[in-house]
Symmetry: C2
Subunit: 391 residues, 2 copies
C-alpha cells in the first residue's frame, strides 16, 4: 500500500497493446513515417491528436515524450534552472527560488524542486483545491516561481479543483513574470464513479487573461497502459512548446515512436482510452470500497481519524490524530505492512501536524488489502490511545 502502483490484473487489460505493432501489422504512421527510425522529435501525429483530445488543447500544443511524465517535469524544471523559461533569466542565477507545494501532495513533485535547491513552501489543501488566498499572497513575492498541482483527483486527497480555483490560477497576479503552474493532470482519466468530476480547462481560462504561458500541462498513460512502458506528454502555449522543442533539439534524438504507435493502435483515440478506463475502475472500485469500509467500521465516530472519499485517482488520504501518523506507520511496519512514510506528503517529508497517511489501495489483492486495513485501523487506534495516555 506504499506506492500508487496498478495491480497485475490491471496491467493484463492492455496486454494486447504489445502485439499491435510488428511485421504483420506494420510500423508506419498513418502518413507513412517509419516509426522504427529517427525523426518526429515531438511525437507521431496520431499520438499528439489523441492527447490533445484528452487534455483539451490543440495537437500542435502537445509534445509526446518517453515513458515518464515525472521525467518531463524534471526536464522542464532543469531547463528553467539552467536556461530560464521562454528566454528569461536562468533560475540558477536568482538569489533564491521558492516553489509552492499544495500539501498534502505528491512527494516526487516536491523532490524535483528540492533537488534544485528551491525553497519549498507548503500551501494548505481545501475541498476546492489549494488555498488560493495563500497562493495569491505568496505569488506577490518575485522569488516564488511556480506551484505544483494535481488538479483532478489530487494526490493524495482526491480533490478536483473547483472552477473558481482554476479561474483564480488563470487570473492571479504573479510578481515573477516567469511563474509556472506545473499542471500535472495525472488522473484526468482515472474516474471511480459513473458521474466523473469535471475540471475547468485552465489553458482556455488563462488565454482569456493573457496568462497562457504560465500553464505547463503534463499527463501520461502510466496508469492507463503500463507504469514502466507508457507514454508521457507535456503541453502548453505555442511559446512554451517552442521553448521545449528548442531544448529537445540538443537533448535527444526523439522518443520511442514504436511505443507511441502501439498506444494509438490499441486505444484508437481518446474515446477508446475513456472506455478502457472503465475496466480499470471496475477493478479498483472494490479495493477503494474495502479501504473506506474498514475505516468507517473501525474508526467511524471515534474522532481519532478523518479521511476523504475519493471519486477518482489512486489514493485515500487519512488524517489520524495529531502527532500519530509516524507512530501508526511504525506500528504497521512492525506488523508487516509497508506504507508510504508518514510525512512524505509534505515538503521535506515534514508533516507539521504529523497526521497525514496516504493509502494506496490499487496494488494488493483485495483480501490482503482487507487484512492490511484491519491492521491499519488497529494501529491508528493504538497510536491515538498512546497519545491520549501521554497527555
Amino acid at each position: 500500500m506504499s506506492r500508487g502502483k496498478p495491480g497485475p490484473e490491471q496491467l493484463d487489460l492492455t496486454l494486447g497493446l504489445l502485439d499491435c505493432v510488428n511485421a504483420r501489422d506494420g510500423y508506419k504512421t498513418a502518413s507513412g513515417v517509419d516509426t522504427r527510425n529517427y525523426g518526429l522529435l515531438d511525437g507521431i501525429p496520431e499520438a499528439k491528436e489523441m492527447f490533445a483530445d484528452i487534455l483539451e488543447v490543440e495537437p500542435s500544443q502537445v509534445i509526446v515524450g518517453g515513458n515518464s511524465s515525472l521525467n518531463l517535469m524534471f526536464d522542464y524544471i532543469a531547463a528553467a534552472y539552467s536556461h530560464g523559461v521562454n528566454g528569461g533569466k536562468p533560475w540558477c542565477r536568482e538569489e533564491t527560488v521558492k516553489f509552492l507545494c499544495p500539501s498534502p501532495g505528491y512527494d516526487r513533485h516536491f523532490g524535483v524542486t528540492e533537488y534544485f535547491g528551491f525553497e519549498l513552501i507548503p500551501v494548505d489543501m481545501t475541498p476546492e483545491g489549494p488555498d488560493m488566498d495563500a497562493v495569491e499572497k505568496y505569488a506577490a513575492d518575485p522569488a516564488v516561481k511556480g506551484i505544483w498541482c494535481v488538479p483532478m483527483y489530487s494526490n493524495p486527497d482526491g480533490i478536483t479543483y473547483s472552477d473558481e480555483t482554476v479561474r483564480r490560477f488563470a487570473s492571479m497576479k504573479t510578481a515573477a513574470p516567469d511563474f509556472r503552474i506545473m499542471w500535472d493532470n495525472a488522473y484526468c482519466l482515472h474516474h471511480l464513479t459513473d458521474t466523473p468530476d469535471t475540471l475547468l480547462n485552465l489553458y482556455e481560462e488563462a488565454k482569456k487573461c493573457g496568462t497562457e504561458d504560465r500553464v505547463v500541462i503534463f499527463a501520461s498513460t502510466s496508469k492507463v497502459s503500463f507504469p514502466g512502458s507508457g507514454i508521457a506528454v507535456v503541453a502548453g502555449s505555442p511559446k512554451t512548446v517552442a521553448d521545449i522543442k528548442q531544448r529537445m533539439n540538443y537533448q535527444t534524438i526523439g522518443y520511442d515512436k514504436l511505443n507511441m504507435l502501439r498506444h494509438v493502435r490499441y486505444f484508437k483515440d481518446a474515446d477508446g482510452v475513456r472506455e478502457h478506463m472503465k475496466l480499470h475502475a471496475a477493478i479498483l472500485r472494490p479495493k477503494f470500497q474495502a479501504v473506506l469500509d474498514a475505516l468507517e467500521s473501525n474508526l467511524g465516530g471515534k474522532e481519532i481519524a478523518e479521511w476523504n472519499t475519493p471519486r477518482g485517482g489512486y489514493f485515500v488520504s487519512v488524517n489520524v490524530m495529531d502527532g500519530c501518523a509516524k507512530e501508526t506507520v511504525r506500528l504497521l511496519k512492525e506488523a508487516g505492512v509497508v506504507m508510504t512514510g508518514a510525512g512524505a506528503t509534505y515538503p521535506y517529508g515534514k508533516d507539521p501536524r504529523d497526521r497525514n497517511i496516504r493509502i494506496a489501495p490499487t496494488f494488493p489483492p483485495l483480501e490482503e488489502l482487507k487484512t492490511a486495513m484491519e491492521l491499519f485501523c488497529v494501529c491508528a487506534e493504538l497510536a491515538a490511545a498512546e497519545k491520549l495516555l501521554e497527555a
Copy 2:
C-alpha cells in the same frame, strides 16, 4: 546522405524483436520481476549483464536508460552543470567552463556543451585519435572540464583510438579534479570487416592510474535494433554510477523495461548481438564500397580531395580542397542531394579550413547512393575549379 541513419532493410533485421514480449511469451525478468510495472530504476539485470559484456565492465557499473544515449549524455552534462559531479562544485558556479572537441567530430556532442554555454575548443584528430599533446596541454587549464570522444570508428573519420592514446587518456594530469571523458562508444559493435579493430579498455587503464572516476561510457542499440526504439546505457565507476542513480531518484520512475526485455530476449546475450551485427555489415559493405569507388575513380590522384577508408562506423569523411566544402554542399543541394551542412563536424559549425564533408552512406538505396556520389564528385571538382580560377 545527411544523417547516420540505418536503411529500412537494416531495420527489417530486428522485426522479430517486436514479437518476443507479450501475453504468450511473458513479460517477466528471469528473476520474476513484472517489467510492465514500476521498479528497477537502473534497468533489468539481464540487460545490464548484456551491456556489461559489450562494454567490458561489471554489470553493477551499468545503468540501462531509455531510447537515446544522447539524452543520457545531455542529462550527465546537465547534472554536472546544476549539481557538479560526484559532489563537486556545480559547473554553473564556475566563471568559465571549457570543453574539448576532437574535430572533425559529432555535431550533437558539440551541441550539448554549446547549449550549456561552455567554450568549445577544437582539437585535431590524428590517425591515432585526438592529438594527445594538445589534449594534455589544454587539460592543464582548470576551466577545461572534459572532452567528447567516439573512440571506435570515430564520427566521421572512422578512426579507432590507439592503445597509446587510450593510455594517455587514463594517465594524463588534469587541472580540473572533475574533468570528464565522455566516452561515447557508439560504434563499438559496428564493424565493416571480418578483422575488427580493437580498442583498449579505458576503464581498466584508468583504474591502474586511479583515474576511473573521469571515465563516463555511453552506448546504445540505436544502430543495432531501432534508432527510435533502442535502449541506451551509461556506465562508469562505482562513484559515478551512484552519483547518476542518486539523481535518477528525482528524475524518473525508471526507463522502459519491456523494451529492455525485448532486446535481451531477441539477442540473448552479447555474442548474439555480435553475430547480429554481421548482418548489418553485409548490407552496409557494398554501400561504403560504392562511396569509396566513386571517390577513387572520379577524384583519385587529382589532389583536390582526401578521404578515409573506414573499417567500421557510419561515415566516410572527405576533405575537399581548402575553402571548398560549403560550395560543394551548395552545388549538391542545387542538384537535389542533401548533405550534412559543411562545417557541422566542427564546434559552432565552423570548419576553419572549410574542407570537411561527412558522407553517410547507410540510408539511401545502393543505386541512389551511386548516383549521388557521382554528383558529389562532380560538385567537389567544380568547387575546386572555381577556387583555382579565383586564385
